[in-house]
Symmetry: C2
Subunit: 331 residues, 2 copies
């Protein structure tokens, strides 16, 4: 069996069954399979995540600038911490590049990365620099969760309950549209392109959700349908989303009138949060916000068998998409 056939999520499902000698600390509270891991260390609750970006797969040198690549490598990891409702503190960075890379490109990369980190209060503390034919970036971010009563308050994927409402923290699809534009050479100051190159992690939204008593969230990296699907499978529920309620930007509607909904549902890399919780708590969070960026788009339903996401049109008919999102190994 090849990895291509198993797929990324097939592999992740299989990992916990491996390792006869696997050590599992009882201090581990949230394991592989959420946006980030959570564990206890003394009186602190640590939240940690790590993502790898590969040139040609996750970013396009020459199309995106190295400062944008650095920004995004940091921001997508901070977004995982935001999706846990925690605060990021420190980061490790590994950069693998060919020896013939211009030093000025590397400097630009770190400028973008440090800036993205600094805006979120993250200190880069070390890492590694190695030689590789294909530029590859790995960032790990470590943060902390609040634990006012000795138990960490975090947002998980496995706590969605039937009857909960589903909300998103911003407009979707701009990043996917920006990628299309970037590939045809649109100026990188275009707002859609900016949404793709320079995501802003939703730290305040994540932390606010925790305060409002919400316990379930994920960030949109693979795409709304796929990421909400992760919540459904982890929580053993289904989800219905009303297409008309998915927030879309004017720029997206104008640029891709026929494709806006598909980009919003499957484009990915928006790095907004999907929050799932009782209607009253979502409403509490909405009231506490200065902006109207939290939009309710659907509900959690009972679905013991398929545990999947259904996007419905105005007539209540399901809209199907060819590809629901990203899988690292299937093509």
């Amino acid at each position: 069996v090849k990895l291509r056939d198993l797929g990324e999520f097939g592999l992740i499902d299989r990992l916990p069954t491996l390792g006869v000698y696997r050590h599992r600390s009882e201090d581990l509270l949230v394991d592989i399979g959420d946006d980030a891991a959570v564990w206890r260390m003394g009186d602190e609750f640590l939240v940690a995540t790590m993502d790898t970006l590969v040139a040609g797969v996750h970013f396009l040198p020459g199309v995106a600038g190295w400062d944008d690549i650095g920004w995004k490598a940091m921001a997508v990891n901070i977004s995982d911490i935001a999706a846990m409702g925690a605060w990021p503190r420190f980061a490790l960075v590994s950069l693998a590049v060919p020896p013939e890379t211009a030093v000025s490109d590397i400097e630009q990369f770190y400028e973008g990365l440090y800036t993205s980190a600094a805006l979120c209060g993250v200190t880069v503390v070390g890492g590694d620099t190695v030689r590789a034919e294909t530029p590859t970036i790995t960032v790990a971010v470590i943060g902390r969760a609040e634990a006012p009563d000795g138990e960490p308050l975090v947002l998980r994927r496995d706590t969605a309950a039937v009857g909960d409402v589903i909300a998103v923290t911003g407009k979707l699809g701009d990043s996917g549209a920006g990628l299309l534009r970037l590939k045809v050479g649109v100026d990188d100051q275009d707002p859609l392109v900016q949404a793709h190159l320079r995501p802003h992690p939703e730290l305040a939204m994540g932390a606010g959700a925790v305060v409002a008593g919400i316990t379930c969230a994920i960030d949109i990296s693979d795409g709304l349908v796929q990421d909400l699907g992760h919540i459904c499978r982890s929580s053993s529920v289904g989800a219905v989303v009303r297409a008309v309620d998915i927030p879309l930007s004017d720029e997206l509607r104008v640029a891709y009138p026929d494709d806006a909904l598909r980009l919003a549902c499957t484009g990915g890399e928006d790095y907004k949060l999907i929050l799932v919780g009782p209607q009253g708590r979502i409403a509490d969070l909405q009231e506490g916000l200065e902006t109207a960026d939290l939009a309710v788009i659907g509900e959690i339903i009972k679905d013991n068998y398929e545990k999947r996401v259904r996007v419905l049109d105005d007539a209540g008919k399901e809209i199907r998409f060819d590809k629901t999102g990203w899988d690292a190994f299937k093509s």
Copy 2:
């Protein structure tokens, strides 16, 4: 300027000057440039490190088995925590591989990695799996330092003092020799090959050194001369090493009689610790050990200008090596 010309250590020297907007938390105690970073989080002192291994550069699929590759990817990171005198607790793992990789190879990789982690009490808590043409592995390990009086007790690179003695925690050169043997197809049960494929991090030695009041150490990844050189430059001192006192295994002497010293000084990847401290404290540590594995090999001397390592023969004459060790970008 290309990265090849600047070199890995030139790049590392330049990084702190980058980032107009770089955020530096006052909780950061040991920054980029040591084996691991150390920071305060609440009442805890965290120690964290991250290394990347690239196929064809750091490991050879087909030559080494995937279980060995997994073992080593974990062990070399745990070794960095050992070199700080700290205890590792949790790890994040990122695996980038081609979609046509056999799932059985991936399973072997995780078996080796989980076993190596378990033997050191490390829980693997998450990470990433992505597609890449060249297999690339990144592991981050996070541990904790003891802090009996509210200050973390760690081993650093910048605390060597003139008059300190230099000790190593085991025999050197076996790993370099094992790599040579592996490349010509010697059975992987050969003890030299095993030393290369399955390093054992020196956690007890690192922790013991801290208890003995030693404050300076590094692990041997790049090679004795180069890694001791990192201590010299960080501490602004020089070092003399007596070749005759460098511990060599019988296997190494027999297999490479003419090359044993060179392999011990520049072969790298032994993952023994270099400990530097006052003679009395090194002696205290030696007394506390059940084995005779701690060997004094030299002294720290004043050397304001070159800050370098001199390996001396029986007559006190310096032995020069063509290549002192590893640089990621120079070839």
